[in-house]
Symmetry: C2
Subunit: 464 residues, 2 copies
């Protein structure tokens, strides 16, 4: 039974079976040393040259070949011990060697951190790029962070509920991906920008505490610092909690997460400051203030919540008010009269979480009063009839006993950037696309067959 | 601070705050009793009528109204105790009542199991349908099962890795959902039928143990017993494990899952029988045999693995061999010579998991030898050139040191059907579509704006 490299610890004198990749080789006269790499680390193999056949086979080994060996775990001679390696006191004297796969020379080095390599090349050969220690570690910690969040929220009585990805459009501003509905010619499905309506429906259903590590989709214009198309968000919605109760919960989650998975990090200020939008603008000239005391310190994390946001911003072009967050965000109760008299002055129950100057989460307490909702539709220029018909199912749902509710969505990829000290989103995802939406590894997007287009009832528009 | 109904246990004599839905009311002369329902259960509220205003407000309460109350927890009189209710020994004498939202009368009863109600009506009002105990419980247990699987696999050293949903087509037979690529006119993205290529790439990358609770997408023709469009699968891929090691792992996972979350269930036979395809056909005339000893017992679970599948089936229409599983499934090493001489006799490393006569999982050990892969392309009628170009990235990846690997995908929704004793997939999902792909709650699919079509460079084909 094959064991991991790390498991040779405590097996001195025993016969073991290992498998993995040739990380490097060193020839010392008649001795050949191979560093065998597997998921858990490195183990040094030694071929002593007593068995001529084995020695010949070992001589052929090249970096990145996949091998399986049997051998005996022994202490290294004192002067050969390597304190920088977990298994550095031991080596495995190989008695059997099987080559499972040979390997071409990779197009770039795998033992560096990789930032120096052309990124398009890295993305084309992502399956090799991911062999580097840094990226493998990023994926593993990402997994641990997801597991932590799931456990934390489950312990708080939250239920993770999967909402559909094949759905109907919502008007949240960003461009949407659409799919022709083969069974309903002329109609389309949409990939969700957020599970907004579904999570609010779950509150109407009385689930009370929902979360989901949800994929969200936006067809954005090319931006070099982005990964195109999809992102993961920790999506949370809860009934009967005040804004402050939601913020406290999120604060506790981040403090525990950092303590558990990033113990080298220091949080500048606990509790996280709650700063009103007006104060942030007056004091820091920014609605995403960077509150780090020492911006050179890669291990400092300065969180703050921004609250007291204006409900609307004036859209001069369209001569109407745009919602600052989204159309389901509730105004503060005391400001409701201002909806008629002075919309600019209305403050909402929006909340953002800022980390080191980046907005990593946003949310709000939602509107549950149909009259307030109708008023907001009116102010943002959705005609009464249209608002009624586009959101009929939500307004109707709210007529059957809607609890007060609100939520927050945390950009999971985005929050990992400062936690993993990475420069951009693509370093914290397994298979990112380029900023302009190409998957360089698989070749997406690509042409599809005429037959498929025909079935879907669409045509590619000819260029005039 | 509001507490859950269940939390009144052990709070006798204390003032508490509760919130939730009016489940039912009973008037006993001057006393009004309300069963308050929240996420965790029911608590009996009593309005004693001493406060005239409060009594008047209580008198207005109707089922499904959302209320918040303050009151004192007291023991019920002995003859009023209800042993069928967790909080049945207690009641809350209300001193303050706030109505948070009124409610229309629901279009169907919420206190039944719901099977008797027209399903289209249930799906249209899914936010009410989900208020019923049975469905709420299904969602919570589904969450617990997902959490269990994640923890089990993590403890086994697996990493959950998110693979893209906006991707390129794979040739696995089912129809795919396609999205016009706005930034690349004439090209399309595809929603994945499975993360097949990505998970194999992760094996090349040396992650060794991958899993993902992945959404998978198929544009299937209408079928009454299905939920259209998307499903969740527990997707597992692993390097350096034999087929039997994979099966043992899955077996252990299901035994622990059942023991922990479904203790009322009994597994017919442990270890799960491993049955060859030939034996299954000879003995049970089925490749999905139902091995229950008593088919009337709703708590019996009969698992078995089917192995030794034929690699191909002859497609008389197209005059070629079709892969029985998929084109990446490995033939048994001893059968490789038969690829040339007698493809019908080749056995593969496919494995299925069958539960009570339903196939709930399938997988295989994969091909890692480029020559064998080329031969399979040839047999299934993919021309050499085309095979090369369509799968170039995979074949190329395999040239850089590919470990032996294999995997299995478990239909998560599907496995929950027998575990939750439900008749179909729609009862174990939060927001299923109808068999013909309509979301009756939100109204998807729907028309989109001409402007959007124009941006995407497509046109709806006019009917001739």
């Amino acid at each position: 039974m094959r064991i991991y490299s790390i498991e040779i610890l405590g097996k001195v004198g025993e016969e073991v079976e290992l498998a993995g990749w040739v990380d490097s080789r060193r020839d010392h006269g008649k001795l050949i040393f191979i560093d065998l790499r597997d998921k858990e680390g490195l183990a040094q193999l030694v071929f002593r040259g007593e068995d001529e056949n084995l020695r010949k086979k070992a001589d052929e080994l090249r970096p990145e070949w996949v091998i399986q060996i049997k051998g005996k775990v022994v202490e290294r001679p004192e002067e050969m011990k390597n304190p920088n390696l977990e298994t550095g006191n031991l080596e495995v004297g190989v008695s059997e060697l099987e080559v499972l796969a040979k390997a071409e020379t990779p197009p770039f080095p795998l033992d560096t951190d990789g930032y120096e390599i052309n990124e398009e090349l890295r993305l084309k050969y992502r399956y090799l790029d991911l062999r580097r220690q840094r990226l493998k570690r990023n994926l593993v910690i990402r997994h641990q962070a997801a597991q932590f969040v799931r456990k934390f929220l489950s312990d708080w009585g939250f239920t993770e509920i999967e909402t559909p990805y094949i759905t109907k459009g919502t008007p949240e501003g960003a461009r949407e991906f659409v799919m022709p509905a083969r069974l309903h010619p002329g109609k389309f499905y949409v990939l969700p920008q957020s599970p907004q309506q579904f999570k609010q429906m779950l509150m109407v259903a009385g689930l009370e505490r929902y979360f989901q590590l949800a994929r969200v989709f936006r067809d954005e214009d090319p931006r070099a610092d982005r990964a195109y198309g999809e992102a993961t968000q920790i999506d949370i919605e809860v009934s009967f909690m005040s804004q402050e109760e939601i913020l406290s919960l999120i604060e506790e989650m981040f403090i525990e997460l950092v303590g558990k998975l990033f113990p080298e990090k220091r949080i500048t200020q606990v509790p996280f400051p709650r700063i009103s939008y007006d104060e942030a603008m007056a004091k820091y000239k920014a609605d995403k203030p960077d509150l780090r005391e020492n911006k050179e310190d890669p291990n400092e994390l300065a969180f703050c919540f921004i609250v007291g946001w204006p409900m609307f911003e004036w859209n001069e072009e369209e001569k109407r008010w745009d919602p600052h967050h989204h159309i389901f965000t509730a105004p503060r109760a005391s400001d409701i009269p201002l909806l008629d008299s002075d919309p600019a002055k209305v403050r909402s129950w929006q909340h953002d979480l800022v980390l080191n100057g980046y907005e990593i989460a946003g949310g709000s307490i939602r509107i549950t009063d149909p009259e307030v909702q109708a008023k907001v539709f009116e102010l943002v220029g959705i005609p009464k009839e249209e608002g009624r018909s586009r959101f009929e199912h939500m307004l109707e749902a709210f007529s059957y006993g809607v609890p007060p509710h609100g939520g927050i969505a945390i950009g999971f990829d985005r929050m990992l950037i400062p936690l993993l000290n990475e420069p951009n989103l693509r370093e914290v995802m397994a298979f990112p696309k380029t900023g302009d939406g190409r998957d360089l590894m698989t070749g997406a997007p690509s042409e599809i067959e005429e037959k498929q287009l025909k079935e879907l009832g669409i045509e590619i528009k000819k260029k005039k």
